[in-house]
Symmetry: C2
Subunit: 227 residues, 2 copies
């Protein structure tokens, strides 16, 4: 079992952690997070975000290039990964231990992610058997800030007919998650891509319950591990 313990810089509070969290996620997709995107994700005006970003830069939590965008410093990344770890552990706990549906857990986990103590984080981890993924299949960062290595691939990148196992459904949209879950499309499900209709038409996927057809926008969210 891990004995790692966090040591925090002063003044790390809810707002700070939510900014770091959002910046981390945005910098996964592009190389720098721009102010307007950050503001949108946080439900805040761009000017408000701009001011806050400057303060985070003063605190050495983000690297800021004015008019360009923000990146996390090592310290900022450490805090972001801690929040994400706690969020995903909470999602697993709410789902596995407390019986919440997989499309419900994101909101509740968000409410708790900046409030839980380290012993609670550790105890959840232990009770869950040190999971590597959340209910949607996102990776749970380890306490040392590393991520498990995986070979997830978009299901749409597969040759039709190839068997695979769903590993991740990459959205936090509750309605979509609920729908996909009802279609049997959630992590662990064995599926085969049967075909993609032309002109952005439906994608047909074979599951253990039969074939299902979903829109390409939804299919793009699904990542699998080929067999």
């Amino acid at each position: 079992m891990s004995k790692a313990t966090y040591t925090d810089p002063v003044g790390v509070n809810d707002a700070t952690l939510h900014y770091l969290d959002v910046i981390y996620r945005l910098t996964q997709q592009s190389d720098a997070a721009n102010t307007t995107e950050i503001a949108e994700k946080l439900g805040v005006t761009p000017s408000g975000a701009s001011v806050m970003l400057r303060r985070l830069a003063e605190r050495k939590l983000v690297q800021l290039t004015p008019y360009k965008g923000a990146t996390l410093t090592p310290e900022g990344r450490r805090l972001a990964l801690r929040t994400i770890r706690r969020h995903r552990l909470l999602e697993m706990f709410l789902h596995q231990v407390m019986g919440f549906a997989w499309h419900e857990v994101d909101d509740h986990a968000h409410a708790l992610e900046t409030a839980i103590t380290e012993p609670i984080e550790d105890r959840m981890d232990e009770m869950l058997g040190y999971p590597t993924r959340c209910p949607h299949g996102h990776l749970i960062p380890r306490k040392d800030g590393t991520l498990p290595k995986v070979k997830d691939v978009p299901i749409l990148s597969l040759a039709p007919g190839m068997r695979s196992v769903i590993r991740c459904v990459d959205t936090d949209n509750s309605d979509w998650l609920k729908y996909l879950g009802e279609q049997g499309l959630k992590p662990g499900a064995k599926v085969t891509l049967k075909g993609v209709a032309p002109y952005g038409g439906p994608v047909t996927i074979e599951t253990s319950d039969g074939d299902v057809a979903i829109g390409q926008n939804l299919a793009e969210l699904i990542y699998v591990e080929p067999e």
Copy 2:
């Protein structure tokens, strides 16, 4: 199962809830909570508490008599009882479901009590079988704000030799709780007050593991139900 749901006035946040919580507890012992006591419990200066109390009064959450003290309005009491309910449910959950020791749960519950959502509160309640007391024996307010009726009595008020069951250990001091727990003095234990030494000397209590002697200051924390 209860279908009750809370409706909140605007701007009810962590600080507000902690003030209401402290005021509620202080007004259990005396008729009004005075500024300095509130400030001490919250780790804040009396002047800071004074300003905050005025604001709470403006929001109609407390009834304030300047230079005298504060009382909760019905709305303030409702919010305080909700926080206390959540705190004690969390303590039970941390103890029974997550395996934390009874002297550890107060701090962790405090960190979470203003963060949890109503569905989490309800689910914990359900998982715990709708408990009426926290691990230390304090009553858990119901969602409608009522408290279970009980007949707890200080163990020191009993005639020596009378058999009783511990119902509540009324402190949040972690060290004392740990010590009393190690002596077998926790809710549910069958005990008999054997005697009280004169001049504030030790109190002897018979437990199922034999006799234990504790100081009167600790014995005063113990409430029992006579058999």
